[in-house]
Symmetry: C2
Subunit: 481 residues, 2 copies
């Protein structure tokens, strides 16, 4: 194919990465050779030329890459190489790359930059982009940045920073074209040509009145297919989906999905146009949310740079490990209550982890479905009773099914009918406990306006473990001793 | 505010749902009254008028709702009410609603429709939308649909159905405007006006040659801001990010995120334009993927309708429960090997779940980070050694830290120094096993071209449980007996 379209498959990205690593290695080799030769074969001039050649090749490679591709390469490199590459990225790209890397990697890059470098990197950014980086920038940089902005930009930045992290304001940018409704499409077309440029991802122009109150929107589509002598007011759509600054970002994301939006206006309480949300900000938000959820469920506090120091990784992981350890000790004490029984019937020690483990599994299944339904806002006062009855029904069936199976296997191993029956009864009871907990923990957390996803699985398995051990050992003490 | 813009917050959606439920209840009440009155107070005519009034109110309510909002309401209603509402949705909306509901709910809706209803619902849909529904439609409906399509549409549908579910072809649609590069922007503008309409989400026109080979793209933005006498070839962008039909859908999604795309052309092996991918298809894909991942991790095979029958839910959940039960029995047999030891030192029974449990937790932390990095393609031959060393380092530190803590607590409870030391050593060893497994299971699965996420956590906890019990009880047998 003679044309220059490219398919940005991961293979090409990986190739870029491999090229950069190869160039880095060459440079390092060269440096090592230079250092090892006590009596240099080549004159120092030629050596430094050789080194320069590799540097230049690497720089040329980096210059041709998209900021997002540089970000990918930085993510995949260990710290030392990462900083070597970072220092060679041309400074115009710095700001964009900082936006594109993950939080953990951004921290390593920023800590390698001095105030001047940070200022020159961030000065090229838009107000909303500066707001996005604000929490990671040193205070003096933010201070100088605020000084350097004009009044409008400073007011915007301060307004953005005053809103919550999960609000629509955090996803907003200010790049939009506004028009009045009493002009013709021809005038709009001439205005756009004179403007000579349109903000990225412009799919519609926002129509406002003289008080900047949002009246509607004119899509580029309608602008293009209608006659130039028509008035904006005749063509514009008045039924525009808009958001308020304080609206929840995840609600906005669902609205984008539901109504297939590309951009949407953001208004204040008085209906005055404040900015817009673009679908790519929504995409990033969705990815971030689902990634956070996954990390939290695995017991990690935050995203980890692939090459974080061991010490930083420990900090990130130890919070939930500590919590798990505490709940494990609670189970231990429950078992401790029945050590006398276990001493007599040692088979109980072998069988008890099954009761606890399967309880945890079924409880997690229930809670995952509830958390998902809560996230989609599908649970309402009118359907909750039905839902609870259904889940308890599933648990009861599961309890009968798996309980009798497990009881039969226990009987098979130990040839003890009563032990088998205790095992079956304990399984049934613990699965009912698990379903109740899987239902109530997320529902109660949600009712208290806490995130139903965070910590649910830890709390759930803590309860199903302790209760599993307790129910099984208590039944055994009662019926078998 | 006098204007009609609306913020589609979840509250408004919930209000719609509550309205529909209230209308359903009224209707039901009315019906009950009619049935209960042996001697009707009102004439049958008035009764049926009353009923009709409620039906009409409900229908009016539904008619004004967006298909996506109707889909939301159907998701949140139990089966009986869901079908009552579904029968009242106007048939023009049927196809769109079927596209918007979840797989599980779609099944319930389709099974309630006869062939004619399904045909009239799907006949209004685009080829790519029919392809999306194809797997859920009864064979005779698909057969009749194929018959009713023209040659081009049938060929397109067959081509779409021939590609894999996770390929770019599955996300593609055919709604695009193509132009040649030897005409002026003025001609393009006149052509668009004559066309009178543009496909949804059109941000660029695709430029092709006479063989339909993609040459570039002309963004609406450039079309609008440039002089009408310029040629398309002077203005168009030749460096367009495009995809091949068989490209991986998740790779495409990451490219959309990375390069902030709204639409992208899809070409065949010869570079001929086949269709386009829109960002809203990408959004749905990302949401679907992360939801599947979450469900699989919780041990669910697929999405569950909130009100699936108990029997269907059991089927969905029993596969992973069964697997877990088998692995739990393996642990049981490991413990069984050491029943003699436990009989002598019954404290072991209390302490052993801690060793196993914390191993599972740390292993999951490691495997989650590896799975994430694999998904982002961040792991390469050049950095894998460093990564393994780091993870083992974290595990060793964790082992020393938590091992000595747990050992000290065990000593505190049982006043047995040797028991404490065995506990500490077992913790250390099992954390190292957990890190090795957390690293190697996803890496090996990935190497074998299997999804590294599926089943990793089950396999991992199976190993950390069994090994945890084994290491602890074996050390205890050796040193304490």
């Amino acid at each position: 194919m003679a044309n220059s379209h490219h398919t940005p498959t991961e293979d090409i990205l990986k190739q870029h990465l491999a090229d950069v690593v190869a160039l880095l290695e060459k440079q390092k080799l060269e440096e090592t050779v230079v250092r090892q030769q006590e009596k240099p074969r080549n004159s120092p001039l030629i050596e430094s030329l050789l080194l320069q050649r590799h540097r230049a090749a690497l720089k040329a490679k980096l210059d041709q890459l998209h900021a997002a591709d540089i970000a990918y390469i930085l993510e995949a490199l260990p710290l030392e190489k990462r900083l070597a590459v970072w220092n060679m990225v041309k400074s115009e790209a710095d700001g964009q790359v900082l936006l594109d890397v993950s939080d953990a990697v951004r921290e390593t890059l920023i800590s390698d930059m001095d105030t001047d470098e940070l200022l020159s990197a961030t000065e090229q950014l838009e107000t909303d982009e500066i707001a996005y980086l604000a929490h990671d920038l040193p205070e003096e940089v933010m201070h100088e940045l605020l000084e350097s902005l004009n009044d409008q930009s400073r007011a915007r930045l301060e307004s953005l920073l005053s809103h919550e992290e999960n609000s629509v304001a955090a996803l907003m940018d200010f790049n939009m074209v506004t028009i009045r409704d009493d002009i013709t499409l021809g005038v709009v077309l001439r205005y756009l040509r004179r403007r000579g440029n349109l903000p990225e991802h412009t799919d519609k122009l926002f129509v406002v009145d003289h008080q900047n109150i949002l009246q509607g929107a004119l899509s580029l589509k309608r602008l293009l297919v209608n006659q130039p002598d028509l008035l904006v007011s005749e063509i514009m759509s008045r039924d525009v989906i808009s958001f308020h600054l304080a609206d929840d970002a995840s609600d906005a994301a669902r609205a984008f999905e539901r109504y297939d939006l590309l951009t949407a206006p953001v208004v204040d309480e008085q209906g005055r146009l404040q900015g817009r949300v673009k679908v790519d900000a929504i995409l990033d938000h969705i990815r971030q949310q689902s990634s956070d959820e996954m990390l939290n469920q695995a017991g990690l506090l935050e995203e980890e740079d692939l090459f974080s120091s061991v010490w930083k990784s420990l900090r990130n992981r130890s919070f939930w490990l500590g919590i798990n350890l505490i709940t494990a000790f609670v189970s231990t004490r429950v078992i401790g209550l029945f050590e006398g029984t276990i001493e007599h019937i040692v088979a109980l020690a072998s069988l008890m982890p099954i009761v606890a483990g399967i309880g945890g599994n079924t409880g997690t299944q229930t809670s995952t479905l509830i958390i998902r339904s809560l996230a989609l806002d599908l649970i309402t006062p009118s359907n909750i009773r039905k839902l609870i009855l259904k889940e308890l029904g599933v648990a009861a069936f599961n309890g009968l099914l798996w309980g009798s199976l497990v009881g039969a296997v226990a009987f098979g191993i130990y040839q003890d009918k009563e032990l088998g029956m205790v095992m079956a009864a304990a399984m049934f009871c613990n699965l009912m406990v698990a379903a109740l907990m899987g239902l109530s923990i997320p529902l109660i957390r949600n009712h208290l306006n806490l995130d139903p996803a965070i910590g649910t699985s830890v709390l759930l398995t803590a309860i199903t473990d302790s209760m599993g051990f307790f129910i099984f050992l208590a039944l055994a003490t009662w019926f078998l001793m």
